[in-house]
Homo-oligomer: 601 residues x 2
């Protein structure tokens, strides 16, 4: 199973009210049936064409013989089915061949592919994201040259940012672009860690390359963005000459092995043609359109790899007899299934709280994308901006933690490749790194996002949180959780305010030194809020039972509600305890780490 579909439906329709989106003009032709239909199709393709070769692609990673790259044939087949179902451009307008699908529904179906096979899904996600940038900022000519191929699956896309010497610090990048008399540019430089940078899946690969135009200023303001295809397009819109983009070599990752990770040389023969997107010097702002999407995508992928491991370990725990309760050690008694051991329950409940909480977070972010794009809701845009570092980081950290627990539930079996959870763990380890490490996200959050528009984002968040808390108060069972959460919320708010004051009074380095701690603390507060939201919604639905003929309430519904309540309880009682010590370290501007000197290590 790729996800608990009952949970996914609950999140989509009950918690985030996907049906409400169909009231917006842009989505008016949709209803729950069309959404369900897309998700059903996606689920079928993910199960039939993605999941079966997940392990095989890991075992047989792409090979480079010095001339070309070969991947196992199942990857190409899967990519084709994904494209043919219209999933590469499902979010585009009808008149452009798309399905005009909300980001929320797009996220839901994308998650199924990330669960089934994150490596193969990686090619599809990169292509959609790159196409979106060209669609948003490219000229009509650029769009007509590249988008049809990217949308129908003949082409793939990449984002080429990192260089051997330049990773997180993009302002330093050195790839050069020299303007030609015909308006095109010649690119020269090396890029590294480019996912999907070469492959044998598609006819063409459209690289979006960050480079510095000749004479451009240093730093981020000198960076431009260039469409740089593997094959140039001829006048008839057919594949033309080979462009001077060469694969220097493949990198060999611990996980996500099915997706090539490449070192690419641009312009080794001084003949690499690139087409400027938009204006010179604005490359990074265009790329951030893609990057912000990619960051939500990374969070979603991490959540779903975590989710997959959770379901696998749950299945194992239900069927593996071993040991007895501490109080009944009789030798002749039958062993119980390990799901009955309290510590195994803990490991499963922790996973549930991390992965369902992470998925909720990512779907919430996608809902905000819809509100921003289709309803022009500026508040939603502001809130999304604030939350993006958390949407990227929380699932990356806690999804991986979930996979670690999944291995532990399986014990020795969890550690061997004969079972699927070790691959989840290896795959998921990438997510706290790419598209901006934890450290980078934490600086973005505490150094920038919190204070934009006078702190509007945080106000909007707290307003939503308080609304949820108020609704929770109507349920007796939630009151102790609300009380506990509220205390921590006060602490969190005070901490944030104090850090803001520190920054205003110039204590920049001191305050930002512990930003990673803040990122984790705020992430937990946000996800705990979403857990209260889920618990409240589940309780309300159960209360509406009689109306909606949930009267006799299927056992399944009752169990679902009980599970949501217990996971909410777990997350607040077990995971939020740390907020106190984190707040203390943050407010006292603890300098133990920052004071450490190189020579002392």
């Amino acid at each position: 199973m790729l996800v608990n579909h009952k949970d996914l439906n609950f999140l989509l329709y009950d918690v985030f009210n996907a049906s409400e989106l169909t009231e917006l003009p842009h989505y008016q032709d949709h209803d729950q049936t069309t959404f369900d239909e897309v998700i059903k199709t996606a689920n079928r393709i993910a199960e039939e064409y993605f999941a079966p070769h997940n392990s095989k692609a890991d075992e047989h990673e792409p090979q480079f013989d010095g001339l070309s790259v070969s991947t196992i044939p199942e990857v190409k087949e899967a990519y084709k089915h994904y494209a043919n179902a219209g999933l590469l451009n499902a979010r585009q307008r009808y008149d452009e061949g798309g399905m005009q699908l909300p980001a929320l529904v797009h996220a839901a179906y994308s998650g199924l592919f990330a669960s089934a096979n994150p490596s193969t899904a990686g090619y599809t996600f990169l292509t959609s994201a790159a196409a979106n940038v060209i669609h948003a900022f490219g000229t009509e000519e650029q769009k007509s040259q590249f988008l049809p191929g990217m949308w129908d699956g003949r082409f793939a896309g990449t984002m080429a940012l990192t260089e051997p010497d330049v990773g997180s610090s993009l302002g330093d990048l050195a790839t050069k672009a020299t303007k030609q008399s015909d308006g095109t540019y010649k690119l020269k430089g090396q890029k590294m860690f480019i996912s999907g940078g070469d492959q044998d899946i598609t006819e063409n690969i459209v690289h979006l390359v960050l480079a510095r135009a000749e004479g451009a200023p240093q730093g981020v303001k000198g960076i431009s963005l260039f469409i740089t295809p593997k094959y140039l397009m001829d006048e008839n819109g057919e594949l033309g000459e080979r462009n001077d983009v060469q694969l220097a070599g493949l990198l060999h990752k611990m996980g996500y092995r099915g997706t090539t990770s490449t070192v690419l040389n641009f312009g080794e023969q001084d003949n690499c043609t690139g087409y400027l997107i938009g204006e010179e010097g604005k490359g990074l702002s265009y790329m951030f359109k893609m990057m912000n999407e990619a960051r939500i995508g990374v969070g979603l992928g991490a959540a779903m790899i975590g989710y997959r491991g959770y379901l696998e370990s749950l299945e194992y725990a239900k069927n593996r007899p071993q040991g007895r309760h501490p109080s009944s050690k009789a030798n002749d008694s039958k062993p119980i299934n390990i799901i009955e051991h309290a510590d195994v329950k803990r490991m499963l409940l922790a996973q549930k709280s991390y992965v369902e909480g992470s998925l909720a977070l990512c779907l919430f972010a996608s809902r905000l994308v819809d509100e921003q794009e289709a309803a022009n809701n500026e508040d939603s845009a502001t809130l999304l901006d604030l939350l993006t570092p958390i949407v990227k980081s929380f699932p990356s950290y806690y999804g991986l933690k979930a996979n670690d627990l999944a291995i532990q539930v399986l014990g020795g079996s969890g550690y061997i490749r004969e079972y699927p959870v070790e691959q989840c763990y290896r795959d998921n380890r990438l997510n706290p790194i790419h598209e901006g490490t934890h450290g980078i996200q934490s600086l973005d959050l505490l150094g920038r996002k919190l204070w934009m528009k006078g702190g509007k984002g945080l106000q909007l968040l707290l307003t939503r949180v308080n609304k949820t808390l108020k609704r929770c108060q109507t349920h007796e069972v939630l009151k102790p959780l609300v009380e506990s959460y509220s205390k921590k919320l006060t602490l969190f708010s005070q901490t944030t305010m104090q850090l803001g004051q520190n920054l205003q009074t110039g204590k920049v380095n001191e305050t930002l030194a512990n930003s990673a701690l803040y990122l984790d603390m705020m992430g937990k507060m946000v996800v705990a809020w979403l857990w209260l939201e889920m618990a409240e919604k589940a309780l309300s639905l159960a209360g509406e039972g009689s109306k909606k003929e949930r009267a006799e309430g299927s056992n399944e519904d009752k169990h679902f509600l009980a599970g949501k309540l217990q996971a909410c309880k777990y997350f607040i009682e077990w995971e939020l305890g740390e907020v106190h010590s984190q707040s203390k370290l943050l407010t006292e501007l603890n300098s133990t780490c920052a004071d450490m000197e190189e020579a002392w290590f």
Copy 2:
């Protein structure tokens, strides 16, 4: 570098006073020079014969063609050098060909091999441990048949406990042993996850197999231990007939790939000969001799894999320029090395505190082994018993956490096999599983070890802790740390007492439900104590400077001291904060996890 040798020497000679051991009759022929000599030799062999193929053995894991297993030739070569240097039986008496080396020094040099190449080192550790069991409990005939080959490297040893249906719950194991008229037994059954269960490194493999003699009672009391060699020994002490032990297949691990993990069939042809060790029904107690050693060994291995990753990431951080301080974003400034970033310092300092703390813990445990064995100190034995679950678990959890941080320091490079840290991470993930999972260790600690001999172990621990605290009080710089630690110590003691009372009043399942939380809490308290011990020792040495001509104190010494102080500070300020929330959950007998029902997931 396999370890920071300055740190290792500090731990050996200053903190754990290895030289004092030479006052014991058993070790009287030793002095610091002989200890140093062994460590130097071990370090050379580890660097020359183990480290170079660590990555290669991972990439080219052992193959089974249906007839025999093949490993890369470097493994056999390394094993030979290890044996030839007398390291397999270094702890045995001189008159038995050994070096009569203390456990403390043995642990120090073993750690070097675990750092260099945990997989190849695995074969040597298993052999020494199996030989120790035969040495301790075997008959003279058994000893003379098997020990010479095991000690000189012609044979290897294994421990064969787990079966496909029986992992943690050893009492249920089903392998049968039928007594023959000649006093030998015929074994029949299948064992799984047997490390080193087959290989082409040694002429013979001596399996120590747990099995149930015919007619034996159910449960742990019916378990006996059998020497079951791959090849029987003939009357001349030469290799004789092939025994009926067959390799059913290899398991494919995520890490530790160089060590075979096997499924073995014993007695498929009804002709597997085993020799009973000691008495029937006492097998588990003999095995626990090996197991307790193995548990310290697992802790040590985890500590050293963590240590290795720390040193690799430290080296990288010192040499990788990237980014600038938050306060100085000038585009034309030169990038700083990432070790200057506060968050990178945090990741390095956390690693340092985990791995140096873990190593101290394992060396302390080994020191206790010496006091127990060579000085017959019963208190040391009691304390060791109490601490074994922690010695096994703390490094397994925090060593892995260190490796996770090492990857994060390297960023994208950390995730690829072109750099060594991802292998550390994969290797180390085994350690929280084998030789008793975290869950098992935590039940052993909270359900049993704490209350043995009327809680004597804990008293002994607290006495030692309080002595350290008293000495710390003489150093102004340590006072705030002692104060902070003492508060948590009180909390920890109160929590422990209350849990003890709960158990006495029959709340067994409720109390043990959260044992994993207790294991982590107590582990942190113990390691924080060792950090105070290290900090105090480093300060005292610096104070003795003038006497010992450390007067002008080399910069190196000053930096070493500063590093120890800072890591101690970090561990207490940053890692112990959680003790409060953990204590709360434990004392309130929080039942959120235990109450979770299968149907609710």
